[in-house]
Amino acid sequence: MSQPHRLAEGGRIDRKRPLTFTFNGRVYPAFRGDTLASGLLANGVHLVARSLKYHRPRGIVGAGVEESNALVQVGEGARSLPNLVATQVELYDGLSARSVNVFPSVGFDLRAVNGWFARLMPPGFYYKTFMWPAGSWRQYEHQIRKAAGFGVVPTGADPDDYDHMNVHCDVLVAGAGPAGLAAALEAGRTGARVILMDERTEPGGALLAGSGRIEGLPAGRWVNRMVEELASLPEVQVLARTTVAGYYEHNFLLALERRTDHLAPGSDPGPRQRLWRIRAKQVVLATGAIERPLVFCNNDRPGVMLASGVSEYIHRYAVLPGSRAVVFTNNDSAYQTAFDLLDAGAQVEAIVDSRPAGQRSAEARERGLQVMNRHAVVDVRGAKRIRGVRLMALSADGGSVSGKGRLACDLLAVSGGWSPTVQLHAQSGARPAYDARKVCFVPGPSVQAERSAGACRGSFDLQACLTEGFRAGAAAAHATGHGDGGLSRPIPSVEGREGDPIQPLWIVPAGKPVSRVPKQFVDPLMDVSAADILTAVREGYDSIEYVKRYTNLGMGPDQGRLGNVNGIAILADQHGTDPGSIGTTTFRPMYTPVTFAALSGGEQKELFDPVRKTAIHEWHVEQGALFENVGQWKRAWYFPWPGESLDEAVDRECLAVRRSVGVLDASTLGKIDIQGPDANVFLNRVYTNPFMKVPIGRCRYGLMLDENGMLMDDGVTARLGEDHYLMHTTTGGAAHVMSWLELWLQTEWPELKLYMTSVTDHWATVSLCGPNSRRVLRKLCSDVDLSRESFPFMAVREGAVAGVPARIFRISFTGELTYEVNVNANFGRHVWEAVFDAGEEYGITPFGTEAMHVLRAEKGYVIVGQDTDGSVTPVDLGMERMLGRKKDFLGKRSLFRSYLVRKDRKQFVGLLTEDPKEVLPEGGQIVDDPSAPLPRPMLGHVTSSYYSAALERSIALGLVKGGHGRTGETVHIQNFDGRTIAARIADPVFYDPKGERQNV
């Protein structure tokens, strides 16, 4: 298989490893080491994409990250990858890619008709039309959306893994070109911990794309030597294929490592991509510079390439992108491309240089090249591939053109100068500054521990890059306490010559107003032309931020890497100022796009959020329980028998508790051990009710408010000893309550002597409820007198249960005789099972949270968070008696504000339907007049609603305006399903109102 544009020798490709890849259905040969772009160019494929808006044919522009046309979709199905840049796709055997956003094909794209109407689509045209008839935007939008976007989302869940890697270092070096290699090495030699990251396949940067020599060695060999020495330093880590993408506060950076994208899918067991989360003491940015295109008519045609890209294809990939070339430049660097082309066997028709003759043009002429000084390429011929260029002579100031000329060619290599990649510097919070001599933005003063070296600092000369690199490495290491800041060795020398200065050339004049000539693209990816910028300015969108948003300049997948500086300069021209006073738009992460999954660390499903499990969890699973998420916990929801519905199971579980004995795994309740002489004082302040004098061995229910007076948590606190208490909190509120209490103790009342320890996880809690619970427990516990007299309701005792030391609380959330047995969780399962064995004769039944909710609702007990929502006070709940009158407590003062003492507040009530079978909808809104016009006044809502098997009727709880004074009145509950149900306001305690059953 031939690769017609592959050079016979050279390049860093592995010719021993040929491969094939597919593009748009055709199979092409290439080599390991190729990118999709170099593979395509080797096979003479230039047309690879269509533009976003006009669907203009687009080719490959550059060789690296600067590429902004060649977006492709790689692979199919769940592993498909949208919007990859062809220059960054490393080929492996069998890779398949295609053009995106084309129909039916990239060669013949029907949407190219958009181009015919381009005149009707100036920037922001959509703000001016599609407005009629009113309300019709959805229809227009539907059509417009179809044309939107580039690639397509994969068709299924991601089969690959991703992870995070947290890493600390003394010096992080971003970019492994000459400057970065030098910095990393110099820093590494001091013994500092150094990380060097480069987004490309291998270190070397621009050195691999050229033919220079360092210390007499070919640049590639010099790079190898550096890499070897780096590898010998134990504290230095070098990562390839790793892009530093985000620079955040406190020298925290994110970098994306593409671990396996260059391999056939499935061939590496590790994560596909890894997000490095880097905490660096010092950062050296050595990210190089990106060549700028020139802005002339039809400068987006396939075959127009960046000069540096052309050189890189020749040197790095041994690919000659064209055979007849024209080079168009306003600076020296493209001359090297002309020489590279010549050396590689291409015909160089001319070097078109906007500047007057200088040293470089003389040198080129010496080599037999035609140099056309003070000339410009004003337009190109050819649509899907250029056939030639149109030339004109430039006036001395570059502002106007005259004359006419043509050259035939199939490649136009352009250079408009270089833009340092100041992105990371800017992301760190610093502001790039404009350097008029270098005609580019360079780093401004640092605001974090960061410095730049090499081309990203505007130093384009290799010697300067090396010097800055070594110095930056030494200085950065020194700042972390390593080395003395001086250089360990002399800086290697490279041969170089003085050149001629660059001449700014922001728009190549074409003899007519910019608005009237064929499109001169500034941001080809977003189809933004020079005329668009001028239109925006004319309409008053005249600051760079407006231009960006109005024209979309720099908002595309390349974030303006290629076009922004030209755009800024064109805007500056309009204002008669320099780019520096216009400034850049804000650079933000990501430097290049980063995979969602990598950012998330691949932590999905059960790793998305911890699943907290009790010691008895597995037993529930074995019994076929269904689970409910409560906070991070999984709680057994109900335990259906085969074929049983939720309702049936819950009825059965409830009846078991009411009639015999049921068991609940209550281990998830928060438990805080509190010890110290001031524990009671503290409790007395954080609970609404008095806590100064709880007898030892007794429990007290408490309400906790936030300072705004709203109910925050509730639970039972037991006094275990003179200065020793155990607080229970709700399952979901445990962590919050603990930090709330610590906050008050540590910051407001540090004088109080007490210690709090969370013991939630230590105790497994087996809650035996029901009239037979005493009988069951008695079989397992001989050393505690379980009788009512010596172990009454709201008491706590210690003893052994099933041989395990236990704390037993006689507290109840169901209204039945209840023993909450707490044991060291390592024995939780043992005790649980012992309880079941002992209870077998009583038909002991496990019950879940649903039954628990029904049972407590029968008793009118609130669940914080279900019956309350952050706007409910104890008074609203009818619990005034729980408010200590003679003491202050958190939230107390708030209860006396004018709105809180109103009588028409929503108050907690019971609700009973006429039809005992009818269960009110939870969340149903309560109204007085169900047919009042909308908006209909609402009284409140149903917070809890169940069928009570014990009462053989439905019951509900709710919040109703002025409800406490409306007992017996009828209200109506309305639900979105169309139901309106009448219900009578009742006391919220439906079952055993005197509380006799728990007190036996």
Binding site: N166, Y248, E249, H250, N251, F252, R277, R279, G429, V447, E707, N708, S739, E742, L743, Q746, T747, E748, P750, D888, K892, R893, S894, F896, R897, S898
Partner: protein, 93 residues
């Protein structure tokens, strides 16, 4: 991503800490004597400083201690950390 220096444990990643609002908000000793407005001021009104902000953090995943931080809310630079009860650095309006 802040690197916060716990006065006890030293510099740790932001993810180990819990923010707990403006520092030096002292609970009135006799709330019942305050007007509703004064109480609301204590409850809700904040300096919300743009610039040097004195704030409370808790080393939640570490030593569980609350402490104070002086942080610039624009640059996010942390100027100092100090323990509860210690006076804030510099003059304070």
């Amino acid at each position: 991503m802040l690197l916060i220096e716990c006065p006890w444990c030293g510099p740790r990643d932001e993810s180990e800490f819990a923010y707990s609002g403006e520092a030096h908000i002292v609970r009135p000793l006799t709330p019942e004597e305050l007007t509703d407005e004064e109480w609301a001021d204590y409850l809700f009104c904040r300096r919300n400083t743009r610039g040097d902000h004195l704030e409370q953090w808790c080393h939640a995943s570490g030593c569980r201690r609350y402490f104070n931080v002086q942080r610039d809310t624009v640059t996010y630079r942390i100027k100092s950390v100090y323990k509860p009860g210690e006076p804030p650095p510099g003059d304070r309006p």
